[in-house]
Amino acid sequence: MTTSFMILAVLTVAGTAAAMGLRNAVHCVLALALGFAGIAMLYLQLGAQFVGFTQILVYVGAVAILAVFAIMMTHNDKSMALPDSHSAWVAGCIVAVAVFAVLARAIVSSSASAQTQPPQPAATVQQIGNALMHRFVMPLEIMGLLLTAALIGAVVIAMDRREEMK
């Protein structure tokens, strides 16, 4: 465990925990952006440069902005700082802690997960491009279909029906 990993881990956990814990929804999204950036930096640490930057571009640059938009669109006096019911909070936390305990136990006990490996040459974008266009060309096309479907679906759902009828 290097210091850099520690720092990034703390950053990420703090960001995500804040995202889930803060009251103000906008603060949550901003904290989430921090968490996403932390994860992106973990990817960089793991040598996945392209994925790391993708993470920032998509999550911080687009998903967070979209979430912000959604919050601004649903911004009224009620939706700001919804008080979370106490019982649900406790129950949720218990479930989460339990899940974490189970997972952690499995990871720690697993011998495969303890391995450390010497650094590998990082994946270059060119390699990714080649892989994408050869081995993963079918998923790519499906992805295109999916994105188009998502675009149309999301727009249709989000569009104001009344305006559409006009």
């Binding site: 911004h75 009224n76 104001d160 009344r162 305006e163």
Partner: protein, 386 residues
């Protein structure tokens, strides 16, 4: 559509919030706002960026001009009229002098009429250039057109200063004439300025007229129909941009405008672009008038010798005199009770009345359009609030 239903329909000022769910944003634009031309204020209700309601708020420059004038002598109000529409003081002087001349039955000597036409048209030139500059400023043009406009305005102001002694507050006209005669060399200088003006207009036009952004931002924005324009008392270039063929210089035959050949440009769309273009075209006509007037100006007295400066008391009665100011119909209504002060003194401010339809023009438009529409109406708060 008959004008009655039109006026009634346009008065239905409560637009429904169509989508019924979006929260409306209420914004005050002004009194301190970069593009409200002074201290105008608009309470704007926005749905997103679309205007659903707009209530103008006046009175931030209400300096009681009428009340003060009722306690002043007739002459004493003359310098105050400079401060009404402070972009064009000389036409204000003129309108006031005209009203008093009507009230007291004073004749104006020939030369004085020429002087009035010359100064009045120069005023129109500088008002229109500056207006276009301000309009472009509102569109976000970083000041360049405004700078060019003011560059030209300074040249005209130099003329005013040489003639009347002041750059802005000229206090030049007198009942029955003008205060001072032309100083030596003034006419030559003015001829040079007027001769150079079309060149400036060409420059201005090449900078602006065919600019796609400007066209896109002004065409079909703030369309004012001819019927509404007449009903709402819109006058001046703004009415003419809507196709109302009404120029008081032609209609009232006041002063000596009948002697000059000039044309009245008319718009057909009634949008901001038309208002902008009508002013550009009007400037060219003004240049025409100026050239004719400066060619024909006769020698002679400049003021009716019978009019007294002090102790001027018109007989009881009333008069309404109006001229075609750069902003529209500028009228003065005076009631005399035989005392040295007017009993009632009223300014018919074109800026204020042209603002009547502001909300109608802005409804359903973008925020950015508001400032453009307001800019194209050409208001000066000194006159709106008086």
């Amino acid at each position: 559509m008959s004008t009655a239903t039109l006026a009634a329909a346009s008065l239905n000022l409560e637009p429904a919030n169509e989508s019924g769910m979006d929260q409306l944003l209420e914004i005050a634009m002004g009194p301190q706002h970069p593009s409200t031309h002074g201290v105008f204020r608009m309470n704007v209700v926005l749905d997103g960026e679309r205007v659903v309601r707009l209530k103008p708020v006046f009175g931030y420059l209400h300096r009681n001009h009428e009340k003060i004038a009722e306690n002043e002598t007739y002459l004493g109000s003359m310098p105050y009229t400079d401060r009404l529409d402070y972009m064009c003081p000389l036409t204000n002087n003129w309108a006031y002098a005209l009203a008093v001349e009507k009230l007291a039955g004073i004749q104006v000597p020939e030369r004085a009429e020429y002087l009035r036409v010359i100064t009045g048209e120069l005023t129109r030139l500088q008002n229109h250039t500056c207006l276009i500059g301000f309009l472009m400023q509102d569109m976000g043009a970083s000041g360049t057109p405004l700078m060019y406009a003011f560059r030209q305005r300074e040249i005209i102001l130099d003329l005013f200063e040489a003639l009347t002694g002041a750059r802005m507050m000229c206090n030049y006209m007198r009942f029955g004439g003008c205060r001072v005669d032309l100083p030596a060399g003034w006419l030559d200088q003015a001829k040079k300025v007027v001769a150079g003006f079309p060149r400036f207009l060409d420059e201005y036009e090449s900078l602006l007229v065919s600019n796609e952004i400007l066209m896109d931002r002004t065409q079909d924005v703030g369309v004012l129909s001819k019927e509404l324009a007449i009903s709402a008392g819109i006058s001046g270039p703004m009415a003419r941009a809507s196709g109302v063929d009404y120029d008081i210089r032609k209609v009232d035959h006041y002063s000596i405008y009948d002697r000059f050949a000039f044309r009245v440009p008319l718009g057909s769309h009634g949008d901001v672009y038309d208002r902008f273009m009508i002013r550009l075209l009007e400037m060219r006509e003004s240049v025409n008038i100026l050239q004719q007037a400066m060619r024909d100006i006769p020698e002679g007295p400049i003021v009716d010798p019978k009019t007294k400066i002090r102790g001027f008391r018109p007989k009881p009665g009333e008069a309404y005199g109006r001229i075609e100011g750069p902003k529209g119909e500028l009228g003065f209504y005076l009631v005399s009770d035989g005392s040295p002060n007017p009993y009632r003194y009223r300014v018919r401010p074109p800026s204020l009345i042209n603002l009547t339809i502001l909300e109608d023009l802005c409804l359903g438009r973008n925020v950015a359009d508001i400032v453009v529409i307001l800019g194209s109406i050409d208001i000066v708060m000194g006159e709106v609030d008086r």
